[in-house]
Amino acid sequence: MKLRHTPPLSHRRRRTFFVAHSLLIILILLTAPLCGFAQFTTNYQALPIEDTIPPTYLSALNTRLSGAQAAISESNKAVIASIRKYLQNRTDYVISRFNDDYIISDPTLTSSLQRLLKDIYDANPQFKPETHVFVYRSEAVNAVSFGEGTIALTLGLLARMETEGQIAFVLCHELAHYHYKHSDNKIVALSKLYNDKEFKKEVRSIKRSDYEQITKFSKLAKSLELSITHHGREHEFEADSLALRMYRNLTSDVHSPIRTLEILDSADRDEFPNNLDLKTALHTDAYPFKDQWLAYTPSSTWHATSEDNDSTRTHPSCQRRIKALQRQMKSLPACINNKFNADARNTLREHCRFEQVASLVHYKRYGRALFESLKLAARYPDNAYVHAIIGQCLYQHYAHQQNHELGKVLSLPDPRFAENYDRFLTFMHNLRLSELASLSYHYMASRKDRYISNEEFLFGWWMASQTGVGNVASDEIKKAYIKTFPHGKYIKKFNK
C-alpha cells in the first residue's frame, strides 16, 4: 500500500502506477482465498429472511411518494398523470423488492453501511441526508439507487469489495444518482415524450399502416432507446464525477475509486483463480470419487462473436469510466485525512459470502448455492453450516433430477461462464441419478458424527436419508430434529 498519488502524474509514472497496481491485485487474489476468518471457522448463522417490508419504512416510502407527487411542477394534465403513475410504480417496485425477500435490513450487514453513509453526508453537508441504504440478496456485483431514496448494494458486490473505501465510493456513486435526480428526470422526460403530439401522431400512423408495422415500431423504439441509453451513459460519468468529489471530501485515499471500477470490470470472472478441487471436496472412502465425472470439454458450438460495442450499452465500460476518473483526479487537490483502515480485508465481505449462499438456497438456486458453498468449504473446512448446505444442495439436485426438474435448479454448462463454474456445471451434468443419490448420502454420512449437533446439518442428514442409499431410518432423524430443535426452521418441512 505504498502507492501515493501526487497529481499530476507524468505519463511514465502513470504506467508504474498501473504496474504496481496490477501487482497489488495479484497479491490480493493470491492471499485472499488462503485465509479464512476466525469468526466463521466452525459455523454460520444465516440471517432471517425478512418476509415483508418493515412498517416504519413502508410509511416513510409512502410519505416520500406523496411528497414527490405533490411537488410535480408540470402544467400538462396528461404529463402530470403519467409522472404520478411512474412515481407510484417506482415505490411499488421498491416495496415488492422487500416483500420478495430481496432486501436485507438486518443491522449485522447494514450497520457499517449506515455509518459510511452518515460519514459521507457529514463530509458533504451540501446534500440533505435523505437516503437509506440496504443490502440486496443477489450474487450480481452491483448496486442500485432506486431513485426515491432507497439505495441497495448487492451481496455479490460486498463480497468483492476489498476496503471500506471501495464501499464508500460505490455509495457516493449511488448518492450522486439520487442527488442529481437522474431517475426523477427520466420519469419527467418519458412522460413528456409519451404525451408529445408528434410522437403520438407517429404512433398512430404506424398503427394505421398496412405493412411493416413491427419494423416501424422497433425503429421508433430504437431511436428512443438510443437517446435514453445515451443519457444513461452520460449519467454514469456524471455520477462518477460527483462521487469522486464527495469521496475526496471524506478521505485522501486515491486508490479505491479506480480499484472499485476495476473490480466491477472483472466481475464476471471468478475471483479465485484456481478451479474447485471437486475430487477432494466430494470424495469419501465409502463412495470413491470417479475421475470420469471430471471429463470436461468446453462446448465449442457456434456463437456469434459479440462485438464489444460500447456505444450500444446502457452502461459505459468500466475501462472508459476509469480513464475519465483518472483525468478528473489530476485536477483535484490532495487532502490529508485518511479515514479508512489500510487492511484490505474485512469481515463484512466474508459475511456476505456466507449470506450469498443462504440467499441462493432461499431462492432454490441449488446449483449456484452448491458451487459457492464448495468454494467456502475449501477455505472453511471445519464449518458445519457449509457442509450442511453442500449436503442439502446435493440432495436437492437428486430430488429434482428424479422428477425431471433439474433444469429448474441447475444451469447448463456454458463456455461464457468463468471456467471454474463451467467445469462445475459440466461435472454436475455428468452425474447419473444413482450417482447423485450416493454422493448426497455419503457426503453427509461421512461427516455426521462430527456435525450432527448442527441444526442445518441435521436437516441435511434427514434429506440424505431420503435417497434410500444407506439403511438409515429417516423417521429417527426427524424425531431427533424435532426433539433438539422444537422451534427449528425446518419443522414445517417435515409435514410436507
Binding site: Y211, T305, H404, L406, D414
Partner: protein, 501 residues
C-alpha cells in the same frame, strides 16, 4: 435409417392424388412449420425458429429466423423477406455451415440458403419443381404432415445433399450435391429405362462415398418394387456401383450400411425376404448381413431367421405375442463395440372392415453381436394403443402396408432415438398413454436407455402436469427439452432435462 417409409409416403401421396380431391380430410389448414431441431448426424445440435413477423408488402412477409445451440442459447437472429407462401422445411448443420430448405407453395419452388455459424448468408439457390411427383412430398408436408425421412441431408463439412425428382421425367430420382455456399457441385439422375418410377433416399455416408437406396417401379402403383443400392463418390457423384439389394437366395430391405475403409468393403444389414416374396407386403424371414466388395459383389452373408435364431432368444412369456403379432422396425443402431440393435414395435390389424384399426403393442429390441450372431431379444411392455385407418387407406388391405401407412401418419408410439457421442449408449423414446390402476390415464414419454453397463433400463416422464401446459421435445443425446407454459405469469419456460438411468 427409416428409408423405406419415404417410398411408402410417396405411394400414399400418389394414392391420394389419384383418388383426388374428394378426400378433404387431409387438407388441413396449412400451418407454418415454424420450429424444429437442427440435426447433425442424427443428433440435435440446436433449434431453429422461423416465424412471420409482419407483412412487408402485398406479396411478402418479413420473417425472423432464430437459431439456438443445443443448450438453448440463442446464437443469432436474422430477418429475411420472402413471399407469404413460404414454408421452412428443414434446417440442418454440417459442422461448418447451416443449410435451410424452404418451400414456396404457390410457386412450387424450393430455396436453399447456406449460413455460416453466425447466420451470415454464404449463398443461396432457387429451384422450381416442375415435376408433379417432385413437389408432391412438399405439398404433403405443407398439409401439416411430418416428412417421413429427410430429403435434405448434411454432408459433414462439405455441403448438402438434396434428394428429389428430375423435372423432365415421369418420376425418376435426382440427387444433387451443393457445397457450403449452395453452389451445385454435381447432380445425378435415374437412368432412362423401362422403370419410369425410380425414387432414391439417402442410405449412408462415409468419408468418400454416398450410398442411396433406389426403389424402381414400372408404374406409380406398382406395389412390388425392386430395390437397388447405389454408391457414388462424394467428390464428383461418379457411380461406384449400382446393384440389386439381394443375395443369391434372398431379397434385402436395407436398414443400415457401413463402409470399412481398411477392408475396402461394405456391410449391409436389414430384414430379408424370399425371392418370390414382396418385401412391402409379405413378412420378412429374419435379419441378414451382407458383405459387398468395391464393385458391389456379394462376398459373404449371414442370416438370423425369425423361426430359428431369433425365436430361440424370445423370452418365454412373450413367445405367444411374437407369433401373433408383427413388428415394424423404426431404427437401427450400431454401438462402439460392434453390436447391432434393431428397434421395433409390435402391431396387429384390428377393428372391423368398416373401422379398420392398427393396434400397437410393445417395443422390441433385437440385439446382434459384432459377428451378427443373435444375442438377445428385449421386450419392453407398454399400454396398447391404436391407430384408426382413414377410409381410403383401407383399400390397401394387407396389415404390413397398413403399418407403413400408420407410420407415415405418426400412428406408432416410437418417437426418436438418441445415440451418445461415444456410441456406447443410446436411448429409444416413445410416447405412450399409460393407465395406472385406479388413476386417470396420462401421456408419458418412455425412454429405453442402453446404459454404459450394457443393460437396459426405462425412464418415464409424464407429459401432462397439473396447472401448466407441458410439452416434451427431442434434444441432445441423454436429454429431452421440456417447455412449460405458466398460465398465471404468461411465461414459457424451456429447459433441458436429463433422462434418468
Amino acid at each position: 435409417m427409416r428409408k423405406i417409409y419415404l417410398f411408402m409416403c410417396c405411394m400414399m401421396i400418389a394414392i391420394q392424388m389419384t383418388a383426388q380431391t374428394s378426400s378433404t380430410e387431409n387438407v388441413k389448414t396449412v400451418k407454418l412449420r415454424s420450429a424444429g431441431s437442427i440435426i447433425q448426424n442424427g443428433t440435435v445440435k440446436g433449434y431453429f425458429n422461423f416465424y412471420n413477423v409482419e407483412k412487408k408488402d402485398r406479396k411478402n412477409n418479413n420473417y425472423q429466423l432464430t437459431i439456438t445451440d443445443e443448450n438453448l442459447r440463442e446464437i443469432n437472429s436474422i430477418t429475411i423477406t420472402r413471399p407469404t407462401t413460404y414454408l421452412l422445411v428443414e434446417g440442418i448443420f454440417n459442422g461448418t455451415s447451416f443449410g435451410f430448405l424452404f418451400f414456396d407453395q404457390q410457386k412450387k419452388s424450393l430455396e436453399l440458403i447456406a449460413y455460416d455459424q453466425t447466420l451470415k448468408e454464404l449463398g443461396k439457390v432457387t429451384k422450381t419443381l416442375k415435376n408433379r411427383q417432385g413437389y408432391g412430398t412438399y405439398m404433403y408436408m405443407a398439409q401439416g404432415n411430418e416428412m417421413m425421412t429427410s430429403v435434405f441431408i448434411a454432408v459433414p463439412n462439405k455441403g448438402f445433399l438434396l434428394y428429389g425428382i428430375e423435372d423432365e421425367s415421369k418420376c425418376d430420382y435426382e440427387i444433387e450435391f451443393y457445397d457450403n455456399s449452395m453452389k451445385r457441385a454435381w447432380a445425378i439422375y435415374g437412368p432412362k429405362d423401362e422403370f419410369d418410377f425410380e425414387n432414391a433416399v439417402e442410405g449412408f455416408q462415409s468419408d468418400q462415398y454416398i450410398g442411396s437406396i433406389v426403389m424402381r417401379r414400372t408404374a406409380l402403383l406398382d406395389f412390388n418394387p425392386e430395390m437397388d443400392l447405389l454408391v457414388v463418390n462424394t467428390s464428383d457423384g461418379k457411380q461406384l456401383f449400382r446393384v440389386p439389394m439381394e443375395t443369391s437366395k434372398y431379397k434385402v430391405a436395407l436398414a443400415d450400411l457401413s463402409f470399412d475403409a481398411a477392408k475396402q468393403q461394405f456391410t449391409m444389414f436389414g430384414e430379408y425376404f424370399n425371392k418370390e416374396d414382396n418385401s412391402l407386403k409379405d413378412p420378412s424371414q429374419g435379419f441378414i448381413t451382407v458383405v459387398l466388395d468395391m464393385k458391389g459383389k456379394v462376398i459373404s452373408e449371414k442370416v438370423n431367421s425369425w423361426k430359428k435364431e431369433i425365436a430361440a432368444k424370445v423370452p418365454a412369456k412373450h413367445k405367444e405375442a411374437f407369433e401373433e403379432k408383427s413388428i415394424l422396425f423404426h431404427d437401427f443402431i450400431r454401438t462402439a463395440d460392434g453390436d447391432y440393435f434393431a428397434i421395433g414395435e409390435q402391431y396387429k390389424k384390428g377393428g372391423t372392415p368398416m373401422t379398420l384399426k392398427l393396434n400397437i403393442y410393445d417395443m422390441v429390441i433385437l440385439q446382434f453381436d459384432a459377428n451378427f450372431a443373435m444375442k438377445n431379444v428385449h421386450v419392453f411392455t407398454k399400454e396398447k394403443s391404436d391407430f384408426s385407418i382413414p377410409g381410403m387407406a383401407g383399400m390397401i388391405g394387407g396389415s404390413k402396408m397398413l403399418s407403413y401407412f400408420a407410420k407415415g401418419y405418426g400412428g406408432f408410439d416410437y418417437a426418436f432415438s438418441q445415440v451418445a457421442a461415444d456410441n456406447n449408449t443410446f436411448i429409444i423414446n416413445y410416447v405412450n398413454f399409460e393407465r395406472e390402476k385406479g388413476q386417470k390415464g396420462k401421456n408419458q414419454l418412455g425412454s429405453i436407455v442402453y446404459t454404459p453397463e450394457k443393460t437396459f433400463t426405462v425412464d418415464k416422464i409424464d407429459l401432462v402436469r397439473k396447472g401448466s401446459k407441458y410439452f416434451v421435445y427431442r434434444a441432445k443425446p441423454g436429454y429431452v427439452m421440456i417447455s412449460e407454459y405458466f398460465e398465471k405469469e404468461k411465461r414459457i419456460d424451456r429447459r433441458l432435462e436429463k433422462i434418468n438411468y
